[in-house]
Symmetry: C2
Subunit: 362 residues, 2 copies
């Protein structure tokens, strides 16, 4: 069987060039005579990969030495805990903006550590089918940070422009759209992203933390749970997930080779234009429940007239080589996850399939 | 350059057959048309790997359904925290047996959560060059558990027989000798092991927990930090480190193909006989500081007459294709880490090198 078009929501597609390179040197990494999986994390060979991966992420984001890039474990789920554990206590407050399932998960953990103000939620009115507007935000002037989820994988929404919060640092779960478009990183005290969408394999979490925000983290925590440890030890306090970091390194090289954030933004906008164009071309047949200005370029969700047609769409799609089209079980419908790896040519193929399907089953 | 003899202390050698299999299907996992790195953790393809890896570990250990096998992240360092967080509070007590650096790290974190009794330590008299005897243990009858480190990578010591603790469950950091020999698992409430020595690549931690001990874990913790979450969700609460689990699966298949714990014990005893035999054959030239009944079969440490000779040994060893012979920076000397992957034939080659070196530089 040939390789297929992979629209899995995460873990998700990794560029073929990255996989090929990993395959080629799997038994003998950079001429060392061993696999990168077998290489000591204290060796110069691994440290070069580790440091180069950090440098590439900084270069892609356009950030300087006032930010640190950390490679942690435990996914966004552990960051839901580490963020409030490091920054809150019973006398401290934070703002959370709730735009879906993952924001709710972050909120639930944060409530254990401090007083949380829900600065906005789009649950009630339209069940998370939009991102709140700046004018809706009820920000707490005494908040230590404002937390948001930059892209919502289940509901198919994404912040087109990040909110303004004055001097209060933004903290963002960017797991599902990190490095997918240009943005100003300066307002962010901390960004975190599980690798398995836009960065590499599951098992490493990238945390980008601004030095002045790092300085405010609680140092009096278990060693592995304070950001100070990992920043001070360059994420080598304990053994990092070396192979996952290595694939991130290769993936970041691919991003730079494809134009960095400029290239990714262009690529993702083209894909969005193609796919939302196809949906909007068949109103009443394909229906996207998301407000137009909140549409995600990473996870495109839409419905067909009936669940039977949706099942047929997923089934026939799979037979045609399109994997992972089923919407999240909590909302149903169709979901096309098209992170950085997916090229416009793949979306063009999918659009042909959609047009064909609509004509045959209209 | 050919592949070399890899004595790295961790991440360490992985069986060539495991790496070859991983390489072979890196672009197309089990005919799915995608890499295992790109496969959804909710797919039947990945779940089969996940469940089969658990089953193989249970089969190797000879444990039944009263134990659960979890795949977590964060290494032993996070287990140093999760264990006391789940089992202690200011009114609860635990015993810790201190046999080296890693026990000290575990102790340091545990002290944050409850009252810790140091049941024994071998630091004072001979700087961790032995394992305490049963008669030395001052066990607290009210302890919730007794924690020990089964093998000490830096000091080259290993428990030949685990201590008897009556009804109090043992909790063990087995990161550096898990699945290397036969032992009775029943007294263990919980065993944990970072994968990067005897199981696979860094980035996954195997936790084996007995149901009655699991039942006593604190459920009122952040979701990702209570054992209940991971046991209930079969380690799929959040995205697991899928690729690392997949390599563990292949590695466990290799262990079973090589005779399970019987085969590993025989293999490791043979290696120990060869290497300690060579050391003891040159008394005054090669010196192992460890008491004979505490000698590790995983990490063999020894000294040469001078540091200059030790440097020459490491350098000439490397040139001869032996990687990772340098002792830990805190203790110096030579260290040969020979986890399950390393075969007796490799140790025979090393012994030839040692004999040759002693004759030339004696």
């Amino acid at each position: 069987m040939e390789r297929v078009c992979n629209f899995n929501p995460g873990p998700s597609a990794i560029p073929l060039e990255v996989l090929q390179q990993a395959k080629e040197e799997l038994l003998n990494f950079r001429g060392s005579g061993i696999s990168v999986m077998e290489t000591s994390h204290r060796s110069k060979e691994y440290e070069a990969v580790h440091n180069e991966a950090q440098e590439k992420i900084k270069k892609i984001l356009g950030i300087g030495d006032d930010f640190k890039v950390l490679f942690l474990q435990g996914g966004a789920s552990l960051q839901f805990v580490m963020v409030p554990m490091n920054y809150l206590d019973k006398d401290k407050r934070a703002d959370y903006i709730i735009t879906g399932y993952w924001s709710e998960r972050a909120l639930k953990e944060a409530k254990r550590f401090g007083t949380i103000n829900i600065a906005a939620t789009t649950e009630q009115d339209k069940k998370y089918t939009r991102i709140p507007k700046q004018s809706e935000l009820k920000l707490d002037p005494s908040a230590v940070y404002v937390h948001l989820t930059s892209n919502n994988t289940i509901f198919g929404t994404q912040w087109a422009n990040f909110p303004t919060t004055g001097n209060i640092p933004l903290v963002a779960d960017m797991s599902s759209d990190f490095l997918s478009k240009k943005f100003d990183p300066k307002p962010f005290g901390l960004m975190y992203a599980g690798a398995q969408k836009n960065l590499g394999p599951a098992g490493v979490t990238v945390v980008v933390i601004r030095d002045d925000f790092l300085a405010k983290a609680n140092p009096d925590l278990p060693s592995v749970l304070t950001y100070h440890t990992h920043a001070k030890e360059n994420s080598l306090y304990n053994t990092p997930p070396c192979f996952a970091v290595y694939v991130v390194y290769l993936f970041m090289e691919w991003v730079l080779d494809h134009g960095g954030l400029d290239g990714m933004e262009k690529r993702n906008q083209e894909k969005g234009g193609l796919l939302y164009g196809a949906i909007d071309k068949y109103p009443g047949y394909y229906t996207c429940p998301v407000d137009k200005d909140s549409r995600s370029l990473m996870n495109v969700v839409f419905r067909l007239p009936t669940e039977q047609l949706e099942d047929a769409f997923v089934k026939q799609g799979k037979a045609a080589g399109f994997l992972g089209l089923k919407g999240h079980r909590s909302v149903g419908g169709i979901r096309v996850s098209m992170y950085n790896t997916i090229g416009p040519e793949v979306i063009k193929e999918l659009v042909c399939f959609m047009e064909d399907f609509a004509k045959k089953n209209g």
